[in-house]
Point group: C2
Chain length 567, copies 2
């Protein structure tokens, strides 16, 4: 039983059938073709040799297939984490150096270890710190940064930097080095891909093709672009015209690689590795859940952490880079009819075959082609309407989102995420630190008590009844003290105060200390403190303290009872 | 009107009377006497020349008197902030150097500016981040560290370090340099102070003295210790026996001083200054509120920030050190009958007189006497029962408290506070990230709906009704998705799901995104989503979105209505 929990693959392997095998194999073949350009492109986005993307698409998905709980999720290099990888490495080692590759392996291993530890300690809730507006803002900003980072490769200008200011600066500074053949080729691929995305599918359907088949053909467009531009580069000797090609790619499967052991690298990349882990986890789980729901399946987030951890460790020891479950690769897998993670294993085998056979041809692939593929994919990450919707829905969420975007674009990915998390926590605490508090009175002739400011109610000058519509915890405990003391200073005749606790799902130690403080201060002013409508679990806790023994007043089941007895 | 808000002194000054004046003056005289040893001692605790404590007790309380809203609070150097000052400066400049003094002034100015800005921006809620168990643990740990830090002065051994490990290490390493006359004198003062604290008051009362007067005499004990040991040092030439004395103290009022302008100091002390500001604010406001309640007065926390900011700026420009409102000095002020902040002004005048006349004598004061006074005061900060109480009341609060104590003692004050804040936030989010969720059914024959696990209720296989007892926000939005998807995977016949929102005071943008995700995934599985018992303000917000238009189901006023219509 326990083995099945930690090795979910045992579940689908135990009743694996011939028809499933056929479907998975076909999906694997389609996936292999579609993933070649994607894998190459995201390695390049991370500043790594293009073949690293292929390596990262071999062992990681196999490991995920054994440990993951999603039947559909496709794991490999993904745009946002590739960008985060480039930023993390850029701050530590020189791009293009052998240390850069070693640091990339280390980053995958660190992020794998963090994911694994979070999974074993069942710390999946850590992802809750990243609120939806922060993630949405971060992904949009990443999309913009990705597009900006590829403008260099698309134009032949050498760019550097990891935010809009430095990227834009280097682009302007290097303007004179623009290579026209590169730009023409890149723009051509861009136009071709845009056409296939927006026009080709309706056209094919209008020509009588089945929509599913038409959709699949559109997905193959990047492969066509890769094949055509590689052929052009080879026949026209475009390298002589200054067009940068991928260059020599080692033939063969990745060997066992060892990540950098420099402790300075561990230290400098710790925060980045953590953020990559959390972002990987969130994007992976949300993709996995989307597809699991379509088939009424379930995924286990804590086991997903373990599976992603294993996949990243695998990447780190087989010449790869940080990986995660990606939306675009998973859509391909789902649409091509994959039924179990076996399709991922077949895809891995297919890509392994590519590293054994196609590397000679890939050396002639123009880098600008990959840049265009990346830009088209990244543009879909930018979600401007989300910004507008959040503005209309809740200003606090909008502020957190905007801060994330501005800092991500203007400073760094890490700063954007950290500021977003900090700000959303601060704003949430701010909101709950001033809960709705109402002085209540009796609706005449009934047992109901309502806000004195909104309703015609009976009150007595000697009896104050205060209702707080929130759990009492550290963020609002001081507010509660102030609210009570303010009330008492306004009603000098008051002799009894009833705190109506109907809204308190929790009273933590800070709130208890505040209640004790309130009790003491009311005693100083000769006012008795009573409680009413205390919830069961809250009462259980209070009974373990001395507070109830010392209480000058009583605990009433209902506010009406307090009203009658204190009359 | 506005002027009175920013200068609360105008309120009490406008009806200041002769009888009030007499009471305030008497209190000022008593305070002056009692505060001499306290002020000297806390400057020494901060690693500063003893007279700095006097300087910091002159201008800061005068400024507080004009800007503060408490009528009783006494502002000056305080044990915990003095310890934090020593730790902050120790990490930046060499103790005893002229730069050390300049950095202390800078720290006061930085903390003053931060308090002022927080006050002007009405950011008092920032203090809510420090939960009660964290503050309590921090103060206890500070008490232990203060005692440990004074063991060196009490024994004549030169110690260094700002945590128990380094302090203890230097004490053991320097064991051979123990000075017996110093230890005898220090232990004598310690024994005398302990006796007066625990035995003298009952003895005096038994002898027929009024308890109030007896209490006041006990408070004067440190003054007596200072006077006697100074006389002993002078007559027996204790300096020759190796007893360290306070040494030459400049005569006269403090002049205008300028804090260090080294930008490196600003940067290195920023976090410490912020933590000192927040701790100052919290301790000051809690003391002020305690005494305001006794007289049914009110204090305004945001104005307190401004007043404390002004006091610290004053300290920074008049040769002082970071100051705050202290419990022990405020008790003295209250007990000696002070009625308005004018008593603080008189105390300041008294201490100014001391700097003009008594400095010759103070030069002979043994440092061990001050160490003993500090240790006795610090021992009262250690609150072990609070640890036990918190353990019994709430484990999560206990964990945050223990982490604060362990890190404060074992690493540093800053690390303790930061870890405490981080951990209490994480634990709170963890708690609310898994709210109570119940599948409900109809209590037969009624309109009530209860948890199917606890009550005998009617259910239908096609209709799921889920109640969530918490506001829906980013920390629990993913949990909600999982809870709903888990439910759906358990009931394959379900065609309608009603989300009972009676417990949701808030639905933020993350929760809205989760609801949209849930809606979409339920649609994939051909299940309609309905809402019931949505609160007014929450509904107002939802109506500004497209969610309600797209909703496959309906929004019902009551769960019973949903039950009837979906039957």
């Amino acid at each position: 039983m326990n083995l099945k929990r930690y090795l979910p693959a045992l579940q689908w392997l135990s009743d694996y059938q011939r028809s499933t095998f056929a479907n998975d194999l076909l999906a694997g073949v389609i996936m292999t073709v579609v993933l070649i350009p994607q894998s190459l492109a995201y390695a390049m986005l991370a500043g790594l040799p293009a073949h690293v993307g292929l390596y990262a698409s071999i062992f990681p998905p196999i490991l995920y297939a054994f440990f993951g709980t999603s039947r559909t999720l496709a794991v490999g290099p993904v745009a946002v984490t590739a960008l985060m990888t480039a930023a993390a490495l850029g701050g530590v080692v020189a791009p293009g150096s052998p240390e850069y590759m070693a640091a990339a392996l280390l980053l995958a291993v660190m992020s794998g270890l963090m994911l694994l530890v979070m999974g074993l300690l069942r710390l999946g809730f850590v992802a809750n710190f990243l609120s939806h507006p922060v993630v949405s803002g971060f992904v949009s900003a990443s999309g913009i940064l990705i597009v900006a980072s590829q403008l260099g490769s698309l134009t032949g200008i050498a760019t550097s930097g990891h935010n809009l200011l430095t990227l834009g600066g280097s682009l302007i500074a290097g303007w004179a080095t623009l290579n026209l053949p590169t730009l023409v080729l890149g723009a051509g691929v861009l136009a071709f891909l845009m056409f296939t995305r927006t026009r080709l599918k309706p056209l094919l359907v209008a020509m009588g093709l089945a929509p599913a088949l038409a959709g699949m053909l559109v997905r193959v467009a990047p492969v066509v672009a890769v094949a055509i531009t590689t052929a052009l580069a080879l026949t026209w000797q475009l390298a002589d015209a200054g067009v940068v090609l991928v260059g020599s790619v080692p033939t063969g499967l990745p060997g066992l690689t060892l990540p950098s052991l420099d402790p300075q690298h561990w230290k400098n990349m710790a925060l980045s590795a953590l953020l990559i882990s959390v972002v990987s986890f969130i994007s992976s789980v949300s993709v996995a859940q989307t597809f699991a729901a379509k088939r009424r399946q379930r995924i286990d987030p804590d086991q997903e952490l373990i599976a992603l951890g294993a996949a990243n460790l695998g990447a780190g020891f087989s010449g790869g880079m940080p990986v995660t479950g990606g939306m675009s690769r998973t859509v391909v897998s789902y649409d091509s009819g994959a039924e179990t993670p076996a399709s991922g294993v077949f895809t891995a085998a297919g890509l392994a075959l590519v590293t054994l056979t196609l590397t000679q041809a890939l050396a002639f692939l123009p880098v600008a082609t990959l840049a265009a593929i990346i830009m088209i994919a990244a543009a879909t990450l930018v979600d401007v309407p989300a910004l507008v919707r959040t503005w209309h829905y809740a200003k606090a969420d909008f502020v957190a989102m905007l801060a994330t975007i501005v800092l991500t674009l203007g400073h760094s990915l890490d700063a954007g995420l950290v500021a977003g998390v900090g700000l959303s926590l601060a704003l949430y605490l701010y909101r709950t630190s001033r809960p709705h508090v109402a002085l209540v009175g009796r609706v005449p002739g009934t047992e109901h008590f309502r806000n004195v400011l909104r309703h015609q109610v009976e009150t007595r000058p000697t009896l104050g009844m205060l209702r707080v519509d929130e759990s009492l915890y550290f963020a609002n405990s001081r507010f509660l003290e102030e609210a009570v003391l303010e009330l008492v200073s306004r009603y000098p005749e008051m002799t009894d105060l009833v705190l109506v606790c109907s809204g308190a799902n929790l009273i933590d130690a800070s709130a208890l200390a505040s209640l004790e403080g309130i009790h003491e201060r009311l005693a100083d002013a000769s006012i008795k403190l009573h409680l009413s409508e205390v919830k069961g679990p809250v009462m259980d806790r209070l009974q373990r303290t001395e507070f109830l023994e010392k209480l000058s007043g009583r605990v009433y089941l209902s506010t009406f009872q307090a009203w009658c007895e204190l009359g």
